[in-house]
Amino acid sequence: MQLKLRGIRKQFGENEVLKGIDLTVNGGEVTALLGENGAGKSTLARVISGAYPANEGTVEIDGSRVSFHKPQDAMKAGIQVIYQEFRHNLFPQLSVAENLYAGDRSGRHGRLWSNRVRMQKDADEVLKSLGMSMSPRALVRDLSVPQQQMLAIAKAIGEDASLVIFDEPTAALDQAESEALFVQVRRLREEGVAIVYISHRLTEVFGLADRLVVLRDGVVALETTPAASSEREVVQAMVGRPVENFYPKEHNGTDHTVLQLRGLCSAGRFSDVDLQVHAGEVVGIGGVQGCGKGSLLRSLYGLLPVTGGEVQLDGAAFRPTTPRAAIASGICYLTPDRQNEGLAVQQSVARNISMATLDAITSGGMVNAKAEQARGEKMRAALDIKARSVNQPVSALSGGNQQKVLLGRWLMTNPKILLMEEPTRGVDVGAKAEIYRVINEQTSRGVAIVLVSSDLPELVEMSDRVIVMREGRVVAELAGNDTTQESVLHHALESAAS
């Protein structure tokens, strides 16, 4: 199919998000949609999918005008969306098969009673044909995050889509899973499906897309192809100004060991981990999903049990018990899941920023609200958090700015060790740059950082050293010229061969 958008405008209240978009998406092509958060990518996706009606402008499918009043209209026209939050696509309490056929419009699996047996058989076939190994009877909530995402994709594919919109599909996937996703995307393209691919990961997009469309401030700022352009040009179009070094890593490592792990184990998650982190150093941990890198950080923060080995902080023995104790010892943890574990979204920016350091502005049990506000303002300025006011609830901010608020909370604790997991997930380019700048600034102050990231370029460029974990053990330590994306991948995936 061919989808043509002309002069699309969309506003929420007084806020005009799309200011006249002209865009054509063709079948058999991957059109990447790029832009900072707030540029309008997600809103545009929702206009296409029928979730939001446009205020002005026309939508044409294969030459004829259409107007969608609700998502079902778009779905009938063959448009499917895989949301970044695929909770929106799936029913966690139901099984894989039930989810696949939730929208069973043809009544193939029963009109009044659902024909479970047939459903599961069909599901089995579909999953196999897509190379997915999950059981059709498994409950969605028991699936891992990448598996859930795969299921959401399978579902969209199954519903005979002519246009599929992928919204940040690899945000929660590691390298191997991302590859599997790309296979599916290419398959769809070969079948003539039009694909709109929204992502922040430029390398990925350059490798996958046929056309690049960059949105900035609600209009199309650049339309080109990977061959005719470069990452730098794209970033410049997104940000509106030349961006010099994308990964501005400074090297501030010292010889002073602040964190030492010896033979650290957590039963069932990781074992025998030896690690040394110096002040001012960024140690990256690479590995595929489930290798134990996340568990390692969480056990240092008191969230998972340590069943063996020892931890030393600044030479003194340390037993991680609770987050509270960890913070008191100078360790803080930036969770990868800012929605569920990081931010209290109804609370204000200022409150979220001071959430871990209330004691410092409390006297006699009462919080000094002025100080809380002042801290919020200071952090907003320091991290360039785009918010109308620090008293706004965090929910009103874009993803990148939310992440900055979360980071700001930890910076307020003046940590000695910063454990960061997926610090730039779902974050736009501008905010990413800001976060990298913060990493540099912290290291220059002597803070030690442990960086877990499944964004390979980020991991490699922002770390002084990279250790690779596989199935719970440290299998490689890379430094200097050995620290390349290829070598990290190689060590991370070796088990696939054996």
Partner: protein, 334 residues
Amino acid sequence: MNRLSALALQLRAVWMLLGVALILVVATPFFFTSSNLMAIALAASITALLAIGETFVIILGGIDLSVGAMLGFTSVITAMVLPHAGLVWGLLAGLGAGAGAGLINGLLVTKVNMPSFIATLASLSILSGLTLYLTKGNPVGVSSEAFRLIGTGRILGVPTPIWILLVCAVVFGTLLARSRFGRQVYATGDNFEAAHLSGMPVTRVKVAAFVISGVLAGIAGFILAARLGTAQPSAGKGLELTAIAAVIIGGTSLLGGRGAVVGTVIGALLLGTIDNGLNLLNVSPFLQDVVKGAVILFAVFVDRNAGPIRIIAQSFKHVIPRAPTPTKESVPTR
């Protein structure tokens, strides 16, 4: 929403109260007299106190169904201790009983991980049964004049229970809005995991909220027993629902993370005003429940974001606070 909108949500209860009051002012000359207004506050003081405690629990994302039973229980304990040990010990016994019951609720919810709905339903049953057992169904009379003054006395011409309500509202309102504990309550209610990861003592916070609920039920228990001159085992029966209604009308969300004491007190006053109005206007008993339900439904339904009101409101765009815009993130957050 920014501070103005958050305040506006609390103020919603004020608009509704003013609306009902306006109707009553027009309908009867007896409404707007100082003695009637005090009568409203007096009658509402009991539910308001229960509702203040309930506010803490609901902001934390839980619910306390046992406050009515706690009221009956604590007032009976007080009445039983009074003649033997005097006023102070009687009051302390009641407060202790309330705190103890609240503690058990808190522990059931945090340590045993029972949903608060079930835990407090169980304690409701246990407490009212215990109270019945202790009193064999008979009310326990209170003869201590000093105690009765709590309910019937006046300070500066205003009935004592209203002062008690005022003090509690200020104390607990300030606790919620300004103290570190209050911040912890909001944060824990908004996102338990995030609060935990930020080093907040989330378990202690939750338990404390239930204890507060119990203590306030105890205070409400004194006042009722003092006003009536007896502690009745069934005294608080059904009051938990009125208390919860007051909290919701006042702008606190059942989902947690949002709300304030001010709104709750106004919600309780609104409900008391409706009762008062029904009596003043001599509305037929068969219609009373209908009218009450309809007013509450209307009051909660008329959110400034809702249909016809929004259209009217949009023409007064600059006078009435704007509804919050959807988030810029691609995904709705909660």
